[in-house]
């Protein structure tokens, strides 16, 4: 996948820092977008918080590393960490191969589910990415 051929699943919400959010009941699943993983290159390590940790919207909650770079992960919404994708510890390449599926990072029990509505839609994010690329 290259930056150009974008994938922007319609049912997700997106942030300016290239995270995605999927809300089901009160639980949000968070990961990074296909654009982000392409920018980062081969991911070698993902540092995530523990279950139970407090998450604040807009604040960093972890890092994602390639060989030569580290990027912070910014929380799209506030809440508490309900679950962490343990498979990423041994298999960080899941984030590259399947950023919206197996590459999910954390699940948050949201403090306020309506926070999702403040994020970008797929269409808005696609425009944002295209603007950034130019």
């Amino acid at each position: 996948m290259s930056k150009g051929d974008g994938i922007y699943p319609e049912d997700l919400r997106y942030t300016k820092e290239h995270e995605w959010l999927e809300v089901r009941d009160n639980v949000a699943t968070v990961g990074i977008t296909q654009y982000a993983q392409a920018e980062l290159g081969d991911i070698v390590y993902v540092e995530l918080p523990q279950a139970g940790a407090a998450i604040v919207a807009g604040e960093p909650f972890g890092t994602v590393e390639s060989v030569k770079a580290v990027s912070e992960l910014f929380a799209p919404a506030s809440g508490t960490v309900a679950e962490v994708n343990a498979a990423l510890a041994q298999g960080p390449e899941r984030v590259n191969k399947d950023p919206y599926g197996e590459g999910w990072m954390i699940r948050i029990t949201m403090a306020d589910a309506s926070e999702a509505d403040t994020l970008m839609t797929a269409a808005q994010y696609r425009r944002y990415v295209e603007d950034e690329a130019n």
Binding site: V44, Y45, V67, P92, E93
Partner: protein, 491 residues
């Protein structure tokens, strides 16, 4: 086929090891009945599991063959920006090994170590003269430790003057050790912007400096090889608000003998003996990072300092306002001998000629390459010049590929992807040690690679082709780190 002994990959010590081989005997045991003194077995290990067993011949051949897999400055140019890879004079290795120096135990009574103290005293004096500073500490073991020392002194100074400042300003073009050092000294780091000439934005600085700023860390010349022409105004802006100016002296090679940090309003600065003063890089050290101060910061210098009492030299530990110690003993003394020998060999004229030649060489490279490689900043170049891979964009060849292909031409690559303010940076610093032929050969190679990139980009993108090993899968190495040999290791 790779020729055994000459060009083949080398096995690990542990793979060459054979049970029962030995490479060393301790001296004859002249103590009667040594067995009487054996320690209680509960303290004693019965083996060093996995430790190799090799003959002396095994060891000598192993390391000799390994050494041949390395590039080195005695083979040719290392155009590494900000590293100042210059020639390491051989006489310096000889004098550092004089028994009087090499065998001097740091716990010797001072009366027995006057020769060592003299080297330290004279080196400090020479550095003060070269840099226009009042005192130098020789304790820091490297540039980064020097930066940390300087920031700790700045903190002590502010505290002593009743000021609690918690911010260090650092330009976005700075070397990573700058923010890292400020952070380990307990400061908050804030970036200050560069202007379109690549220098510190004076206006932005004036707007930002206020009562919470302790220090600005400025590299001069900056990491683009450009002299910070407004440095005196920068100093004034800081001093007006009670803040200090720290200069990162990694690039001192650009103006030794032409100008001095102490005259620029700099309050404290470090320099690198393993850059400007020729001590060898050793494959990653040892170095030394002396720090110079103006009088105002002298009380805070690490203890001990070398002081003269008539013609006697001593180590003065009685420094009540000192920040303390940064390391055991007095510093990387072996590097002091080498650096001072380098200074003595040059003298005042030689040192001036050194920086002139360094700057001439960098400008020569700039002139030869600027028509072909993209030059992001056109400000006058001192000792190093920064290009980018922008002109190669249509080919898909990037800075990394150019660097790897240079190895096939017999050169170590320049510094790449630094400074961060230039995308795809290629930072080139030849130093004064290079002849015109070597510079031309390097430039010819760079131009040839540009042509190759347009003609056969795939070949460049899969370089190097002729080195003992080719591109390594660094991703896999980072995903599953293997940091030591174990008996399960595969060849």
């Amino acid at each position: 086929m790779e020729t055994r002994n000459l060009r083949a990959p080398e096995r690990l010590l542990f793979e060459i090891s054979r049970p029962g081989r030995r490479g060393f005997e301790p001296p004859a045991m002249d103590i009667p009945e040594p067995g009487r003194y054996d320690l209680d077995p509960r303290h004693v290990r019965d083996d060093i599991e996995g430790f190799p067993e090799l003959s002396e011949v095994d060891v000598v051949r192993h390391y000799t063959r390994l050494s041949r897999l390395n590039y080195a400055i005695d083979l040719g140019l290392y155009p590494l920006g900000s590293c100042t890879m210059k020639y390491n004079p051989k006489v310096n290795e000889k004098v550092a090994r004089l028994a009087g120096f090499a065998d001097a135990h740091p716990q010797l009574p001072e009366a027995m170590a006057q020769g060592c103290l003299r080297i330290m005293h004279l080196l400090e004096k020479a550095l003060c003269a070269i840099c226009g500073m009042d005192r130098f500490t020789l304790q820091p073991a490297a540039g980064a430790q020097g930066e940390q020392t300087a920031i700790l002194m700045a903190r002590a100074y502010h505290r002593d003057h009743g000021r609690a400042r918690d911010v260090v300003l650092i330009p976005d073009s700075a070397h990573g050790t700058n923010p890292a050092s400020a952070h380990v000294a307990g400061y908050k780091v804030e970036q200050i912007a560069s202007n379109d000439r690549g220098c510190v934005d004076l206006g932005a600085l004036r707007r930002r400096v206020s009562g919470d700023v302790a220090v600005l860390m400025l590299t001069n010349p900056n990491t683009l090889g450009v002299f910070e022409g407004e440095i005196e105004e920068v100093a004034r802006a800081l001093h007006d608000k009670g803040a200090l100016l720290y200069m990162d002296g990694a690039n001192l090679n650009a103006f030794v003998g032409q100008a001095r940090p102490g005259d620029m309003g700099v309050d404290v600065h470090h320099l690198n003996l393993h850059k400007t003063f020729s001590t060898p890089h050793g494959g990653g050290g040892p170095g030394a990072g002396p720090v110079g101060v103006r009088k105002a910061l002298e009380p805070y210098l690490p203890a001990p300092m070398v002081e003269a009492d008539g013609d006697r030299l001593r180590l003065d530990h009685d420094r009540p306002k000192s920040i303390g110690r940064m390391r055991s003993f007095s510093g990387n003394f072996g590097m002091f001998v080498r650096a001072y020998a380098f200074m003595l060999a040059h003298g005042p004229d030689g040192l001036k000629r050194m920086s002139e030649t360094a700057v001439l060489n960098a400008n020569y490279i700039r002139r030869r390459l600027e028509g072909t490689y993209h030059l992001p900043y056109t400000s006058p170049t001192l000792h190093e010049v920064v290009f980018s891979d922008k002109a190669l964009e249509p080919t898909g060849v990037r800075t990394l590929d150019v660097a790897k292909r240079l190895m096939d031409y017999g050169f170590h690559p320049p510094t790449i992807y630094f400074p961060l303010i230039v995308k795809g940076a290629l930072m080139i610093e030849p130093t004064e040690s290079e002849s015109r032929e070597e510079l031309d050969a390097f430039c010819d190679a760079m131009l040839a690679i540009d042509a190759e990139a347009r003609r056969d980009p795939e070949m460049v993108r899969t370089a190097p082709h002729t080195t003992p090993i080719r591109r390594l899968d660094e991703t896999a190495a980072a995903r599953n780190p293997v940091l030591r040999w174990t008996p399960e290791t595969q060849g």
